[in-house]
Amino acid sequence: MSNVVERQSLMTAERFASGLTYEAYKAQMKQNRARFEKFERENVLRDADVEAFRALHRPLKTVVLTEDWCSDAVATLPLLAALAERSERFDVRIFYRDQNLDLMDTHLNRGTFRSIPTFIFYDDEWAEVGAWLEKPVTIADLRARLRLEIYASDPAFGSPDAPSSDLPDAVRERLWAAITRMRDDTTPESNREVLRELKGLVLERHR
């Protein structure tokens, strides 16, 4: 199963040009800058990935809907930016989700959720090639399983169904550290899966 949807285009050249470049977006980030830069340094992009996307005849206009508090975006956006820079096949502009709800609401995750990051790919005629949402489903499942394992690893963490707010502060901090470590540790695998899904989305439909 792939986290991919197709929708009618709401994009125009003028609107696209109003989006932030990657560097401009980075410059105004208020949250998560250190983690963002960590993932820039650790991205999993290989030469073979870059070459694969060079099969695209022309760069795809790529709209990113995001907010800087989003941890999935922190992990994935640096990968897209590196892919765009090295392959020269993605012209990326970044838009804040909450200021672009018309675009977001035509790309709802499972028809309900305003999930970010959302990457929307357009051809030269502003026809939508496809969209990629939030995170690979396989990674969501993997992290859910690992999260249960974390809870099971220490009786002090209690039940995963119980509110974390009522854990003693020290225990909650230990649990949070374990969850954050798990998410960071699975980011390389997540990003490899993102690349696999993007290849399926844009290479198979727009070669």
Partner: protein, 88 residues
């Protein structure tokens, strides 16, 4: 009896900080010194939980959506009443 403590755990990855802060502000405005504390805890996984003295009065996972302010206030009023008059 000690004054009630409110804890609000919210999913920071979901952008729920505004709702958490608004709820904390509303409770402090209503109850002020009748509360011992209002804690706002950034968490993840779609969380928006509100507990009063360890008793869960709203869970987004269980109840769906954000809490009804009246329900949270009623839970606090019940505990404030049982705590008796404050001594300031």
């Amino acid at each position: 009896m000690t004054r009630p403590a409110v804890r609000i755990a919210y999913c920071a990855d979901c952008g729920y900080d505004g709702q958490a802060i608004d709820l904390a502000r509303a409770l402090l405005s209503e109850f002020g010194h009748d509360l011992s504390s209002v804690s706002i805890i950034p968490w993840d996984d779609g969380t928006f939980d509100v507990s009063v003295d360890g008793r869960l009065v709203h869970s987004m996972a269980q109840d769906g959506g954000f809490p009804d302010l009246g329900t949270v206030k009623d839970a606090i009023r019940a505990l404030v009443a049982s705590a008796g008059p404050r001594g300031d």
